[in-house]
């Protein structure tokens, strides 16, 4: 469905991405793995319209598209949880959840509708925040991450991208997120997940794409691959492209 080819991005002397290709299909969970600094988050930002690549094309259902701004990505149904969360710390949980997609009538905010829905959404994710009207600055690390994940589920996305979604989450919340990813796949969405936790990767993904120093370094069907093979691709011990 979503297909990116030849994505290249340099930050000065650092070649963060170098001709990367990535295919995402509806109803499939792809795990993007790789060493620290391999370029995973940079690739996510390209897909989400946050940065413009130096080169490369993106097609959606075969047609080339331009993703120059986050709005473009949103219009294509891309919904993203960033590694750095990208929350407005001065706003409360409800405001952050609905940021950019506020419920409104004549541009007047539907406070009550949003609060009600936020409440239900967070409950369904097993998130525990004692008062959802406090600024996000007052939340613990895991609580913030939960808010960021919940954000991505608002609206009707076609592709959900999660950059290390469970890094700060507790045991139960992590389980919830893994369950959630399963449900998203079942609803026919495309899902791209970045994670360093190979156990989780194996548990949830259909396919694993490996980046190394900004280049594609392997792609595996999860079910048919051993953890060792993935580790080898990550660390560069082997580089077998499937």
């Amino acid at each position: 469905m979503f297909s990116a080819t030849g994505i290249t991005k340099a930050y000065g002397a650092v070649q963060a991405l170098d001709g990367v290709r990535l295919d995402l299909r509806a109803g499939e969970v792809v795990a993007l793995v790789g060493d620290n600094g391999a370029g995973k988050s940079t690739l996510v930002k390209v897909l989400a319209g946050v940065i413009t690549p130096d080169a490369g094309t993106i097609t959606v259902e075969g047609r080339p598209v331009r993703i120059a701004t986050p709005q473009d990505a949103q219009a294509l149904g891309v919904s993203t949880v960033y590694q750095d969360l990208a929350l407005c710390e001065n706003l409360d949980v409800v405001a952050n959840l609905y940021l950019g997609t506020e419920r409104r009538r004549w541009s007047v905010l539907g406070h009550i509708a949003m609060e009600r829905a936020a409440h239900d959404l967070l409950t369904s994710l097993d998130v525990r925040i004692r008062d959802i009207r406090v600024p996000v600055a007052m939340l613990s690390g895991g609580q913030r991450q939960s808010v960021a994940i919940a954000r991505a589920l608002i609206g009707e996305p076609r592709l959900v991208i999660l950059d290390e979604p469970t890094a700060a989450l507790g045991v139960e919340q992590t389980a919830q997120v893994l369950g959630l990813i399963d449900r998203l796949r079942d609803r026919g969405l495309a899902v791209l997940v970045i994670s360093h936790n190979l156990a989780d990767v194996r548990a949830m993904s259909d396919r694993v794409v490996v980046l190394r120093l900004g280049r594609n370094a392997g792609e595996f069907r999860t079910a048919e691959t051993s953890q060792e093979a993935i580790v080898a691709a990550i660390t560069g011990a082997t580089a077998d492209e499937r």
């Binding site: 929350l87 609060e115 409440h119 097993d126």
Partner: protein, 395 residues
């Protein structure tokens, strides 16, 4: 269990105290500063608290207060507008030339002047967002350049008087009689109370927690008492000045816009974390440009109010320390210079502090050098009370 932890429990008095201790002091410390100022000047000069003087104060704060409202719009984004003073003067001059020299209808003259201010704001906003120039420099150039244009437009003549009995001058010489004033206050309070009741119903219907009745009653009742006091005092002199009503209406309207519209929400978002706002799909450029337009239009309106008060415009219009006082009012009222924090009420509170000090100092008979020093000391004292109280509560 989740439902329980997610729910905001009703506010108990204990929790109210806890909120206070958390530093959620709102306007209280500044209000404390105001009380101190009132006490000091009230003791030093018997006239300070007289209805006549409080009426003066009300008139004196409207123009700069309006400019300060505009400043808050850009401060919320973490930007600055140094041109507000010049723009206020320029806008007043444009209005006056159209009205007095070209004999336009005053309302049309005001409208055109405000549109001109809007265009200026647009220009600032575009230079800031499109050319990526720091707002400090853009509006510094504005400060100098619009002042130049003002001088150019005034040209040979210098001062232009506004007819004392004309529409514009009357803006600052119109007084609500007693009954309309009470009517206004009653309508305001009734409207607020109705909104509160409906809001509570809706929240309950949505199964959301509602604040305890006593708190809502206390808040609305307190405001009612305050407004009633203001009306009573001002009616003892010439009545409630239209200028104060206009300024008050602007404060209330902007507060509603910022809290209850998408635009307001996005302003805070851009000010809090511009990158997060951008990633959320908010057109941050448009928000920024709008903020600069609003700032300039409000500055322009403030300039017109000032011209109305003086019944004249001249080369000094919008000059002197108007800009600094407008920014200071915003900051004293709790607006952050770093963006994302502040409310229109800040302008009201801050300008009250500043103008009370100026007003009180002028009642006393001191040399200008001493006046400057005492003004500085009282200003520092008033804000220190605020800062220390806030700090003590967050330790």
């Amino acid at each position: 269990m989740n439902a329980e932890t997610l729910t905001r429990g009703p506010y108990t008095p204990k929790e109210a105290v806890a909120r206070l201790r958390r530093g959620d002091l709102g306007a209280w410390p500044v209000a404390g500063g105001l009380v101190v100022i009132a006490a000091v000047f009230g003791t030093l000069n018997e006239h300070f608290l007289s209805p006549e003087n409080l009426t003066n104060l009300a008139l004196q704060l409207a123009a700069t207060g309006t400019i300060s409202l505009g400043i808050i719009m850009v401060l919320l984004l973490g930007e600055i507008d140094l041109s507000a003073g010049s723009v206020s003067g320029l806008c007043a001059v444009v209005m006056t030339i159209l009205y007095v020299k070209q004999s336009w209808n005053p309302v049309a003259a005001i409208a055109v002047a405000l549109v001109a201010a809007g265009v200026i704001g647009l220009l600032h906003g575009l230079m800031h967002t499109r050319l990526h120039m720091p707002s400090f420099i853009v509006t510094l150039a504005g400060l100098i350049g619009w002042q130049g244009l003002l001088l150019y437009l005034l040209g040979q003549g210098g001062t232009i008087n506004l007819p004392f009995d004309g529409f514009v001058s009357k803006l600052s010489d119109t007084w609500l009689p007693v009954w309309p004033a009470w009517g206004l206050v009653t309508a305001l309070i009734a409207g607020w109370a109705a909104a509160a009741v409906i809001g509570r119903r809706l929240r309950r219907a949505a199964d959301l927690p509602v604040p305890p009745v006593y708190l809502t009653v206390l808040r609305i009742g307190g405001t009612a008492v305050l407004l009633a006091g203001v009306v009573t005092v001002l009616s003892a002199d010439r009545g409630v000045p239209l200028l104060l009503v206009l300024f008050g209406a602007l404060v209330v309207a902007l507060d509603l816009v910022l809290r209850h519209t998408v635009f307001g929400r996005w302003m805070y978002a851009v000010g809090g974390n511009a990158e997060a706002a951008r990633r959320a799909g908010i057109n941050t450029t448009r928000i920024r440009v709008l903020a600069f337009v609003l700032a300039s239009v409000l500055a322009g309106f403030g300039g017109i109010l000032a011209a109305s008060r003086l019944s004249a415009v001249n080369q000094a219009s919008g000059g002197s320390d108007i800009l600094l006082m407008a920014v200071a009012a915003a900051v004293i009222g709790g607006t952050s210079l770093f963006g994302g924090r502040g409310r229109p009420y800040a302008a009201l509170l801050g300008i009250l502090v500043i103008q009370s000090i100026t007003n009180g100092m002028l009642l006393l008979n001191v040399d200008s050098s001493v006046r400057f020093m005492v003004t500085a000391a009282v200003l520092a004292l008033a804000v220190a009370i605020d800062s220390v109280a806030r700090r003590a509560s967050t330790r």
